[in-house]
Amino acid sequence: MSQNDLHYVRSEMALPQPAPLRERGPLAWVRKNLFANPFDSVLTIIGMLVVAMIVPPLFNWAFVNAQWTGTDRTFCATVAQGGIQPDGWSGACWAFVHAKFGQFMFGRYPIEERWRVILVAIMFVALLVPLLIPRVPRKGLNALLFFVVFPIVAFTLLIGGVFGLPHVETPLWGGLLVTLTLSFVGIVVSLPLGIILALGRRSKMPVVKMLSVIFIETIRGVPLITVLFMASVMLPLFLPAGVSFDKFLRALIGVSLFASAYMAEVVRGGLQAIPKGQYEGADSLGLGYWQKMRLVVLPQALKLVIPGIVNTFIGMFKDTSLVYIISMFDLLGVVRQNFSDPAWASPQTPSSGLVFAALVFWMFCFGMSRYSIYMEHRLDTGHKR
């Protein structure tokens, strides 16, 4: 009996059939993802109702009814409120954001000197972007420029007082400038300081260990607001009369030290996750302490705690708003401060300003978060699950 006699055995492959109708196309997707079972269906309907209730009014408020241009509150107030809009009008007052945009970005930095801030911002982006893209070569030079040369140049440009640049005192700084300066310095200082503190806490030398523990636990034990408040209100009373530290500098130091303590604990978490064998392996190769840390332990530990590190960065970025309590005005502070301008007081002004501030904060935080996910995937060698 040859094989040809077996008529029920296929001699060629069956042509692929399209999936049944109920398994493909948008309808199937909807059924599978939104209405798979009664519970899902109820949740979907509730969700759609909520979206339908929130999104169209929000869209109308933010775009359709919004007032985009104007010079004072009359453009954003109804006739009954002393403005030009019809009664019952409710829309975003983007004219307020437009009129105050310069202040939201630069605070009260003198208008004719704002090119200096813009120049610093351009340098910041021009140095940061190549540093963040792994393909671009010359990382060492780039990092040197970004972490050493850039802060000095930016400091000189922003403060002025040399090379014919007029001096701009820090109380005039504000808005996004303050938010970014505080976070940049906080991030750049807290990561190395945090690593050193974390190593110190795990050190076998009792004095180093004790100092690290005392520092970390003291700073973590008090709220940031207290640190800022001490720096702003108590410090001037301890100093001799007539001597005062720049308030912005005090805030910078406060925020940096605060972030360092948290960073130290995040890094310590990473150090503890490295198996003992790695340490012993490095020892058996004859590496010294710093070589062991630099070549074996830290690269693995830091990679593990990228989410924690970025979490701390994002938290710090948002915490900078607390400098409002010591009368320094970051983005949120400037926005809120401008609510008090009687020329713009209207029912729509506060919500428009806050939505704008939220959007800017979200853009930065979301950017940081996406980049950290990208780096996690890129560095994910050997831990893929």
Partner: protein, 342 residues
């Protein structure tokens, strides 16, 4: 790491402002070349930034008046926005030369806190605002028995409110909130009938309500909140300059000297005007203060007289539209009274 330390050290040396603590405030201010003035972090009509970021308002203009008296130039002033908690420390530690920040003059602040209040630039007091549509016919706070009152908790406002209703044997339901924004929102949403806070604040809040014309600020004032500028104790010369800058604003209004007509008034034959404007021969009024004899001219040129400052910032020339009321001159039934400049 090294650059951070050097950066911080560099910033520290730049940030250290060592002023000669021995000389008087006037000499310090003159040496600096500007007046450092503490204002609020934003209060409509008193000190709030405009579109360009310049401080506007009654308190801010008072700073300009003092700067004009000292330098002949009202722009030589730097503003330090201060929170309510920081304001006294800033003055005590010498961070600012003058505190002009809607601060209530009380005996405790005048004595224990080491301040000297120079006068009352705005007589404020706690008032009531009602929704006239919800409470028709109410035109006095004494008719508010049984009302729900929105108030910010933890303030003297809350205590004054309780005292007032108890003293007048009236009932009320307090609706308390932690934050000012919450009180505003609750009142606007109709959760209470009455809103109480300082009267000057009520006018600012009215602008942010859905339909401001429905809301009426009642005439009663149930507490005294005399707001005025303050200086440090122990420097009488500076204290006199700031005090008389305030009196000069009032005197200029009394004599009809305005920003527009101050140059013409210099040629006036009225001996009182001549004395005030320093055009009298052999006058020593300005130099006795440590200023130039044209100090009043400079003040009025920079900001106008008290009436102009008031109307521009909080009165009819502003969105707040606060009536002069007890802040009118004594000649017009108000409380603003200046001793004679002679």
């Amino acid at each position: 790491m090294k650059y951070i330390i050097s950066g911080i050290l560099g910033a520290a040396t730049l940030g250290m402002v060592a002023t000669a603590a021995s000389a008087g405030t006037l000499e310090d201010v003159k040496a600096k070349g500007f007046l450092q003035c503490g204002v609020s972090t934003g209060l409509a009509g008193f000190s709030a930034p405009n579109d360009k970021g310049d401080w506007q308002g009654l308190d801010a203009d008072f700073c300009r008046a003092v700067a004009a008296a000292v330098f002949g130039d009202g722009t030589k002033v730097k503003f330090t926005p201060l929170s309510a908690k920081e304001r006294f420390t800033a003055l005590q530690s010498g961070e600012i030369d003058l505190l002009s920040r809607n601060t209530t003059w009380t005996i405790n602040r005048d004595t224990a806190l080491g301040l000297n209040f120079v006068g009352v630039t705005y007589f404020d007091g706690q008032g009531f605002m009602i929704n006239a549509k919800k409470l028709p016919g109410v035109n006095s706070a004494l008719q508010l028995s049984g009302a729900a009152v929105c108030v910010q908790t933890g303030t003297t406002t809350e205590l004054n409110l309780a005292d007032y209703f108890k003293a007048n044997k009236m009932e009320y339901n307090p609706v308390v909130f932690e934050k000012l924004e919450e009180v505003n929102a609750a009142y606007d949403a109709g959760r209470c009938d009455v809103y109480t806070t300082d009267q000057s604040g009520l006018y600012g809040i009215r602008l942010t309500l859905g339909s401001p014309d429905d809301h009426v600020v009642l005439p009663e004032i149930i507490s005294k909140e005399p707001l005025g500028p303050a200086v440090r104790q122990g420097d009488d010369k500076w204290y006199h300059i700031v005090k008389w800058a305030y009196f000069a604003l009032l005197t200029a209004e009394e004599l009809g000297i305005t920003q527009a007509n101050v140059e013409e008034m210099k040629a006036s034959g009225n001996p009182e005007v001549k004395r005030v404007l320093g055009t009298e021969t052999d006058t020593k009024i300005g130099t006795d203060l440590g200023l130039g004899n044209d100090w009043v001219v400079n003040i009025v040129k920079a900001v106008g007289n008290y009436g102009e400052v008031f109307e521009r910032n909080v009165g009819q020339g502003s969105p707040l539209k606060i009536a002069r009321g007890i802040n009118a001159l004594w000649t017009k039934g108000g409380l603003q009274y200046a001793p004679p400049i002679r």
